[in-house]
């Protein structure tokens, strides 16, 4: 005897929920609602200042239709030059320095003490924002692009070494083993067994980091680290919205160009 078929009522069907347990779903929802009401309640909004701000926001948007590239062109060019040189130099230095760190931080090729040391270094340099590093380096090295260069280099090491170490850990050990079995020395082993496997990643990541470093170089100037950020900060302080709009447009354009070129290069090497 076959089982009785329960009639399927399409109207009763509900799509399965993202969070399966209804208990958990409701608790999370309730917690979220409570948090939101407290958080929004603790916001201290000055509505008259906001209304005044709307007008200023309108001016700023209008400034985008007539950006002023010319009246501060000397400062803009100087800031841009500093930003670009800082970006390029810091990326090169950071990548070169991060390769040994990455080798040390790859668990499959380095001894435990070196591994821990390199991982600790990466962890510390990653947990602080570029801008906090910049504050300290500006205090140490004085105002100007050198502090920015050091900041971006250190930040690059943290980022680059971590991702490269992960790539080395994910490599094919057979190739490295094959090189080692020919009697190769340590440097030859790295150079012929490991480097070719991670080279596309190195190129791709360097270009990506170049892009990030340029964006970051635009803010380091706010705390005195040189670059276009200082010019932008001054423009905002003087309410020169047309100049600020021009600088923002330049930043957007450069980032777009950088992203476009790096995507082409990355497609070629990968």
């Amino acid at each position: 005897m076959s089982e009785p078929i329960t009639p399927f009522n399409a109207a009763d069907w509900r799509p399965p929920s993202f969070i399966e347990s209804s208990m958990l779903r409701w608790t999370l929802g309730l917690m979220m609602a409570v948090y939101l009401s407290i958080a929004v309640g603790s916001l201290d909004v000055n509505w008259s200042r906001l209304a005044e701000g709307m007008q200023r926001g309108g001016w700023f948007l209008a400034a985008f239709t007539s950006p002023d590239f010319t009246s501060q062109s000397r400062d803009i060019l100087l800031g841009l030059e500093e930003s670009l040189t800082m970006t390029l130099a810091a990326t090169v230095i950071g990548v070169l320095l991060s390769i040994p760190v990455a080798l040390g931080a790859a668990g499959n090729i380095s001894p435990a003490p070196v591994y821990l040391l390199c991982r600790a270094f990466i962890g510390i340099s990653r947990s602080f924002q570029e801008i906090i590093l910049a504050i300290f380096f500006v205090a140490m090295f004085g105002f100007g692009p050198f502090a920015g260069l050091v900041t971006l280099s250190v930040a690059t090491i943290g980022f680059f070494a971590k991702l490269l170490a992960e790539d080395i850990e994910a490599m094919d050990p057979v190739q490295a083993e094959a090189i080692k079995s020919t009697g190769a020395g340590w440097l030859q082993w790295i150079n012929y067994g490991i480097q070719p496997q991670v080279m596309p990643r190195i190129i791709g990541l360097s270009l990506y980091r170049l892009d990030i470093n340029f964006r970051e170089s635009a803010v380091i100037g706010i705390v005195g680290g040189g670059g276009i950020g200082a010019t932008l900060n001054t423009a905002f302080d003087r309410y020169e919205f047309e100049t600020a709009a021009a600088i923002l447009l330049i930043i957007i354009a450069i980032v777009m160009i950088a992203e476009y070129t790096s995507s082409i290069v990355r497609e070629k090497v990968q």
Binding site: P15, F18, Y35, A39, V40, S42, L43, D44, V45, N46, R49, L50, E52, G53, M54, R56, G57, F60, E81, E82, L84, T85, M86, L88, A89, V92, S127, F128, Q129, I131, I132, I135, F136, A139, M140, F141, G142, G144, P145, F146, L149, R215, E216, A218, V219, I222, V223, G226, G229, L232, N233, F236, Y239, A244, L248, I251, I252, V255, M256, E259
Partner: protein, 266 residues
């Protein structure tokens, strides 16, 4: 002997080309270094180790009872990150649907606009958005929330529209074949497929935003950065070290939360 062919990876011409490219790259790098060192006061740089040691000695011991004054700024920081992320996600979702090749109403007109919004939002750091919004709507937490959300829109929308473009079209077609309306296709065909990405990206961005909201105060946009700026201005380095430790702990906790949540989603 010299007639013997030796294996080469490239032809001589290509070899020269490669070396020439290296030469250009090194020249460019040296030029950049030269420009930077031209703008640097080397006296200060030579003095740096002493200054660093001095700073270090001024930072210890941390002034622990200052921590009492940090709870409210930390709460503000958390709110800036969370409300900013929520606002960003709400604004980014429609933009992502307009930017995805398979859901956009018009590839030629709407998609470029959506992509332009995404790129502009991504190219401008949240600190610059903060600078701008503080000038426009005045200092405070609200400027921070909007700054964080403006920066996050591009990030969330980009990852989301890439996920939308990669969905399985057969499921969408199956729903459409039942005679479903456009909204029903959206809620039953597309949305369930991108929901894990949506949740993962939101939590990931929240984690990044916690980090970013700790420094927004430097330009006056609320949060613990205000205290950092104030302490640096009055050279109270013992307070600075407390603030840095507080920031570090917040970041570590938020990273842990985000990793746990993403782990359980994926």
């Amino acid at each position: 002997m010299s007639d013997e062919l030796i294996w080469r990876r490239r032809t001589r011409q290509r070899d020269l080309m490669v070396w020439f490219c290296y030469l250009l790259a090194i020249a460019l790098f040296l030029f950049c270094l030269e420009r930077i060192s031209f703008a640097t006061e080397w006296f200060f740089v030579q003095d740096a180790p002493r200054v660093a040691a001095d700073l270090g000695s001024r930072m210890v011991p941390p002034k622990w009872n200052y921590l009492r004054e940090l709870w409210i700024p930390l709460w503000d920081t958390l709110n800036i990150a969370t409300l900013g992320t929520l606002l960003a996600v709400a604004l980014a979702t429609p933009i992502a649907f307009l930017a995805a090749r398979n859901t956009t109403p018009s590839i030629r007109f709407v998609r470029p606009v959506a992509l332009l919004i995404i790129v502009s939002s991504r190219s401008i750091n949240s600190l610059i958005w903060g600078l701008l919004l503080v000038t426009i709507i005045g200092p405070g937490v609200l400027a921070g929330i909007i700054a964080i959300s403006f920066r996050s829109i591009g990030f969330v929308a980009k990852l989301l529209y890439e996920a939308i473009e990669e969905i399985d079209e057969t499921q969408v077609e199956a729903i459409a074949a039942t005679g479903a309306s456009a909204t029903q296709v959206m809620t039953y065909g597309i949305w369930p497929q991108i929901l894990p990405t949506f949740a993962g990206v939101s939590v990931f961005r929240w984690d990044i935003n916690i980090r970013e909201s700790t420094i927004l105060g430097l330009v006056g946009a609320g949060g613990i950065g205000l205290q950092l700026q104030a302490s640096i201005n009055i050279v109270a380095w013992q307070q600075v070290s407390v603030i840095l430790i507080a920031i570090l702990l917040t970041v570590v906790v938020s990273e842990w939360v985000s990793a746990r949540v993403r782990h359980s989603i994926i």
